[in-house]
Symmetry: C2
Subunit: 165 residues, 2 copies
DNA sequence: GGGAGATCGTCTGCTGGACAGACGATATCA
DNA sequence: TGATATCGTCTGTCCAGCAGACGATCTCCC
């Protein structure tokens, strides 16, 4: 019923299994969230797009894709479906007619609120082994670590500038 | 140069972006480790297999695959290559002639020690934004969270029993 | 103003990996 | 002994992801 963390002390020198922990936890997270988002196109990934669009308002579709680590060609048909379900919409960018600004619809906002609650519940289940204070600590440390990790892509900096005011 | 964590406070109710943090961090980890393991078959994944085999001695190939979240058919040719490079070897299990016990070779152990050092360095680079104490805290919390997360696969329990002396 | 080069979003193939299914060999249990 | 399950392997299929090209547009420099 319970997985065991790799025995890092067996050989002494082994790095505490950061990769394994991240992969295992993300795997579980993905399963939980996919189950919670069955009615959203592309499941958990669709939720993440919807969430990013709503909370960050990335300037371009490419910036959105870069932030989520999704290929831009994938983002195209992924958004196609979200648009088809009236969750987001593509608006022409008045400043750049090549670009499209992705905006949430009212319906999308409502759906996201519902999904947020479900995802939050799923995450609490996922972290059931930790005390509430530890969960918060983990979330914060993770966010900071991920934020500090070099993203290899300067377009993220654009997002940062837009989001931060 | 620096990514920004999604603005969770923008709408107030958004769950702190656990999924995004995990995905982003794992993405970076993967890139770093892949770069550090260019000379190992299948890169970072080969490293994880080698590491798991060495430190956990999973009873069967299937258990190893389950633990790492790899399909058993994939594990076959993945091990094929590791065997071909004399990093691990398949030994017939005396207790079950269907099964094969995967064991590190001396060469594999030496290679792993070298890789561990490189991976450790890569991880330190990855977590450069955190204080040393925070890094340890993150590692421990992650390991505990991943360990506590239900693995949906009872074969992991077998591993647990075998590993825990 | 006009041309060169870069960028945005889209579309088209291709390819590698993931997965289902079947198989022989073996273990387990009735 | 026979029925059923498991282990590792192999085969075939399928799909997500990636490279590349494209028209439209922006930006910069001449």
């Amino acid at each position: 019923m319970t997985a065991t963390a790799p025995a890092t002390t067996a050989t002494g020198a082994g790095p505490s299994p950061l990769g394994w922990s991240l992969a295992a936890l993300l795997r579980e997270w993905s399963a939980e969230v996919t189950a919670a988002c069955v009615d959203v196109p592309h499941g958990g990934r669709g939720y993440e797009v919807l969430s990013a669009v709503t909370r960050e308002a990335p300037p371009t579709q490419a910036a959105l894709a870069a932030r989520l680590g999704i290929d831009r060609t994938v983002m195209t048909y992924l958004l196609d479906e979200l648009v088809g379900c009236d969750l987001v919409e593509r608006r022409p960018d008045p400043a750049d007619r090549r670009a499209r600004r992705i905006a949430v619809t009212d319906h999308g906002r409502a759906v996201l609120a519902d999904l947020d609650a479900r995802v939050r519940a799923a995450e609490d289940r996922l972290l059931a082994g930790l005390e509430p204070a530890e969960r918060d600590a983990l979330r914060h440390l993770l966010a900071r670590a991920a934020t500090g990790a070099a993203p290899h892509d300067d377009r993220c900096a654009v997002v940062a500038r837009v989001v931060e005011p």
